[in-house]
Structures are given as C-alpha cells and as structure tokens.
Amino acid sequence: MIEMGVINLEDIESGMILCRDIISKNGLVLLKAGQEITEKNLGILRIWGITEADIKGIDKEEILDKKTAEIDPRILEEATTKAREIFRHTDLGHPFIKELFRLVMLRLARDLS
C-alpha cells in the first residue's frame, strides 16, 4: 500500500478531492475517485467504519507535521521525552509502533496543556 496521500479520516476536510474509490468492507462503492468530499460524505464514511482515504495532492507527513507544529514546543518536548521513555523497548521504525507513538505523544501533549 502506498502511504502517500492516504490520510486518516479525522484529517479529511470537506472540499478535498478523492484519488481512489472508497469501498466498504463488503464491497460497496461508497464514494468515487475524483469526487469532492462534503461534510455529509464524512458522516457517511464514519458510519461505515472507514478510517482512511486517498486524497489528491496530500502528503501524510505534511499533515502530521502541521499538527505537531501547532503544539507549544516546550510541551511537545516534554511529551516526546515521556513517550520515548514508555516506548523504550519498541522499534519506532515499525509503521504500527510509529503511528501509536505519534498518537500517544499527541495525547500526552494534550493532557499537559
């Protein structure tokens, strides 16, 4: 799977353009490639348990960087240090651990601020 452009549902905003069809687990095409996403669509995707979509011209890393850039750097540093301590026995290069680490770090930052 190509990660570029595939972003989490929570980061998708109305007005973004789909790159690929969104298909439910049982094979139903929910939205077509090329379609512009509306608020209503987002609600439907949530109901169907869709967690990600391939969006035109979007880079996952860019969105994540933007999110962390919004955090006060001191809090960010404290949260990162704490998360690193908890995760010290894991391989942060693995995609699952990497995503879990990011989410835990964001939550720690939220609780700190």
Partner: protein
Amino acid sequence: MGYRLRELLESYDEISSLPMIFYRISEAVNDPRASMADIGKIISDDPGLTVRLLRVVNSAFYGFPSKIGTITQALVIIGTRQLCDLALGTSVITLFKGIPEDLVTMESFWRHSITCGIAAETLAAYRRETNLERFFVAGMIHDIGRLVIYKKMSQEAQEMLLRCKSSGALLFLGEREAIGFDHATLGSTLLRSWNLPPGIVEAVAFHHQPREAKHYPIETAVVHVADIIANAIQSGSSGECFVPPLDEGVWEILGLSTSILSSTLDHLERHVNDMAHSILIER
C-alpha cells in the same frame, strides 16, 4: 521450575477453583437439552453476577437503543455463548481479593485488563471476526498470572517491580529471570485447569511471544497488539511500566491498516471508564 509453578497454583485454594456458578453455566451451555430459560435461571440465581452482567450489556459500549432489563433478554440479544463468556470474564474479578495494593492497586490492574479487552474486541471487529466477546475476555484476563504472583510471592514481586522500574527493564523478562517463568505461562496454566476455551488459553499463554501460538494465531496476535496499545496509553497498569515490544510480523498477520489506531484510541477513551465502572463496582 515445573514443580514450583504447580505448587504456586495448588497452594492457592481460593483461585484453584472457579466459582460453582461458572461450572453450572458451562454445563448448561453444553447441554443440548438445556433451554435458554434454564441458563437464564442459573445466572439469575446469582444476584451479584446478574447485576454486573446487566450493567455491562447496558453500557454505552454495547450501545443498544433500549434498556435490557432481564437476563433472558440479554441472552436473546447478546447470545448464550457470548453472555457466558462475559459472565466468566467478570466473575474472575471476584476471585482475587486480599492482594497487597502497594504493588499495584486492583483498580489499576483491572483498568489495564479492561482496556486490553476492549482494544482486543475493537481490533477483532475491524477484522470482521465473529463472537467478539471471546476477544474481550481473552484481553480482560491476559495478565491474570500476575495476580497469582502478587498474592503468593508479594515479597519477590515487590523487589521485581522496583528493580524493573529503576533499571527500565520489562517486567515479563524480569519474571522469567527471577522465577523461571512469566505470568503468561502461569496464567494460562490456571485457565487451562479451569477448562476455559483453548483459544483464550493459548492467547493468554503466548501474548508475549505470539508467533508460538500454533492453533489460534489470530486470537493471540490480537491480544498481543491490544496489550501493546493498553500499555502505550497507560490506561491502568498490571505492573509493567513500558510498552512491550511488538513481535516481528505479528501486526502484519492481522492485515489491518495503521489508520484504525486513531479511532481505536478514541473508542478506548470513550468506553474504558464506563466499562470499568460497570464491572468493578461491588467487586
């Protein structure tokens, strides 16, 4: 080593046997002549269990639109096997009393267990597994061996916990070093003696080395990953201070996208408190 493990469990009268009620339920579930009403009657005979089960099935986690008022209703809506699994998972809590809370508070221990249970059930749901309760129960009791260690060897356990905390080591490795086996082996031996379903026993036995699970690799992988999530968000603790390492290739076995993690963590944040309240009250 084998001798010591057996000795630990045998000398533990209180937990070496499950409450009678559970045997009666399993017997009825496996008896083709027993009706749903018979099973309902057996559960309803135990007021504590009835209250606990009704609280769980009425929690926001299940999200049924109307209130489930009786065990018979719960059996129809949730299913006999599933309700039996829930009865088991929640009655195990009542077995462990008098554990010194200076090691780990029981509140914190069960919170970690419930978090792991809900995480396991959520991962299984994303995989479109059926009978999700067995995943919940396996997650809920995965660290039960630790309670035996805390109760039977509180002195050694305390030293072990402190040593791991100060040196930054993983507790299950500390256990293997200090007593020759870990809580997973101990817990699964206990669960096997209770005749719990083999899928649950194997998932508990190998939740720190999931690739060794030969018969139920998915159940085991789910509990392994759920435990990592529960430790990462530090929702309660069974004594471990760190996120256990992910066994190679295990995340890949599940065939899930990492994008499910964000909503899984939100889901846990919403439901753990509620479920902990449902299960832990009047324990």
